[in-house]
Subunit: 205 residues, 2 copies
């Protein structure tokens, strides 16, 4: 048994600490977030902090960290237009997805830089990733700044969902294996998940 406590954490080297705590929560949802500014300049950034906050109406949360160039472009854009997209990542796109985390100058679109294709629906003022099998369009609802470290919780209302194929099972569950959605952990590990089992709703005894 190995026990780490706060005094150990303080002695962790910076990158050790970042890898350790970013992988400690386990496997994460990972998405490409598409935005554009008022002039239509597009931005694409990888985020592993997207989570369900409600189904009626459908609300998803996303954390934007105070540091890092790309997330700040994402935040500025979505505050400007009120829209953003989430795009699932697959075995054929994870390398390009990871490459969006490089610090490109503000006038360079990550779509061009990494070789992914912006695609637009009629409803959402933000670019989707054409190559993604599952695309989600969101309208900004509100932001909650966290006083303790400047992290911002962005809450969005899902206004559109676009599937390349009919991935929803008869009861609404989305078949992520069929959609080839990948998961991530830490800052740089990409993984493919395989269902062990789908269980029935739990009842006492």
């Amino acid at each position: 048994m190995i026990i780490y406590t706060a005094s150990d954490f303080e002695q962790f080297e910076k990158h050790y600490r970042i890898h350790f705590f970013n992988s400690l929560t386990g496997y994460k949802s990972v998405h490409l977030v598409g935005t554009q500014n008022a002039e239509g300049t597009t931005n694409l950034a990888i985020f592993s902090s997207i989570f369900h906050m409600g189904s009626k109406p459908p609300y998803f949360g996303m954390l934007v960290r105070p540091t890092g160039e790309t997330p700040r472009h994402t935040l500025a854009n979505l505050l400007e237009t009120g829209y953003y997209t989430l795009n699932h990542i697959h075995p054929h796109t994870y390398k390009q997805a990871h490459q969006t985390s490089a610090k490109y100058p503000k006038d360079v679109s990550e779509f061009d830089a990494v070789g992914l294709t912006p695609w637009y629906s009629e409803k959402v003022k933000a670019p989707y990733v054409f190559e993604s099998n599952i695309k989600i369009g969101l309208k900004l609802v509100e932001t909650h700044p966290m006083s303790f470290n400047g992290t911002i919780l962005v809450v969005g209302n899902v206004v559109e969902v676009i599937f390349k194929q009919p991935y929803a099972l008869p009861d609404g569950m989305i078949n992520l294996e069929q959609a080839q959605t990948i998961t991530s952990t830490g800052l740089d590990v990409y993984a493919q998940a395989k269902t062990i089992e789908r269980l029935e709703r739990a009842k006492p005894n």
Copy 2:
């Protein structure tokens, strides 16, 4: 291509809608959350809304939904004691973990009901799951109620991490495959992830 919009969402049958939006974000971190009340009655509940909010100091977030019996016991307990634990789930414990979502009476501990073992460290006033390979002890920092649907964001400071084996790689990254940590999607799908690739830090060009 299949496009769903808000008018479709409104027509989704209740359970269809819940399955659909709970799986739409992709694979999720899934943990057993251990708490106890001031009298020492323990509670154990499965949560798939745990996320990293910072590494220095280490802060994790957790969403507690306004509905559901078990999450409310978790919230009441952690507000009472100021502590809670997160415990990774594995192929040998996911069935018991899922069973904690059954609506047991308040005086029944899910540890007893599902057959998992409470275990205590010296620092944290909440029960760990002995069977978990990775255990995380947190001290409550703050709660943020969401006005739009009553969801509560609970923020905790990681004060202790306990590994059964040395799972941390030399650079701090935790080897989740070695720890046999599983992931989930929707409300009832449990999956095992296999690393595709670990990528280098991205730089322009």
